[in-house]
Amino acid sequence: MKLAISYRTRDSVPLRYCLALMVLLSGCSVKMVADYNAAGAQEIIRIAKVVDLFYGDLLETRYEERSYDRFAEKYRSVEVDLRGLMFQNRIRPYNRESTRISEIILDKWIKYKNRHKSQWEKYRLPEDSPDKIKASEIYKDVLVEKHRRRFQRLFIAIAIAEEAKKLAASDVNEGDQE
């Protein structure tokens, strides 16, 4: 019995371990981030452009004409795009950070939309109302510029997060395939 064990340990078992290890390692790779999504990356750039154009238009509009109604349709359309971006990120495994960034972008968009709406309503109050604000306070240039830059930074963040996934996917077995 002892001899049999000794024989197995010296010859068969190490070989079996090696083969098992090989089988395990052949399909073994570490995964920490989601796969790169080229269509998703394009979508980020597209929405970023739409948002930037929106703020450009807002800046070009005279204070008296910065009504919420004038921009409401655009607000809704971008909100739908941003919600779509968030869902696309949420359903991908290993994608916690991009999901969180997309949630922050959506959250800021809704916050600024609601603020624009409430400021517009305050502007429309009767002249003698203590809460009435001036046209220049509906959406101040200084805030429009800040929000435009903030969205640029947020879209850069989500675009970098997506591009990083391309880096992670570099093919370590390239040599084997050639």
Partner: protein, 104 residues
């Protein structure tokens, strides 16, 4: 059949070092950009508050949004780091796999 564990580990570390070295500057450059943005944004915010361009409420709201933006930028940095680690570890595993294959 021989398997030199020492040489294999050395090769695995070399493979990881190569990957990290190639990509570390991307992480460093983005981290630097985030900090530069942060400094500039806070300087502007304080100036605008002192000039009266923004109200107390607007100042507080912008600070809150800045905190979230910073979180998003750190999240992006985190993905960059994770991607680099994934690539480095897989490069090392590839070396190990090839070494075992050759030893058999």
């Amino acid at each position: 059949m021989s398997f030199d564990i020492e040489a294999t580990i050395k090769s695995m570390l070399e493979a990881m070092k190569g990957v990290v070295g190639d990509n570390w500057k991307d992480v460093g450059s983005y981290a630097g950009q985030i900090l530069q943005n942060k400094k500039e944004v806070f300087r502007q915010l304080v100036e605008e508050k002192l000039r009266g361009d923004i109200t107390e409420d607007e100042f507080a709201s912008e600070l809150e949004d800045e905190k979230d933006t910073f979180e998003a930028e750190l999240d992006a940095l985190n993905v960059l780091k994770k991607a680099m680690i994934q690539k480095a570890v897989n490069a090392a595993l590839d070396v190990l796999y090839k070494a075992i294959k050759m030893a058999l």
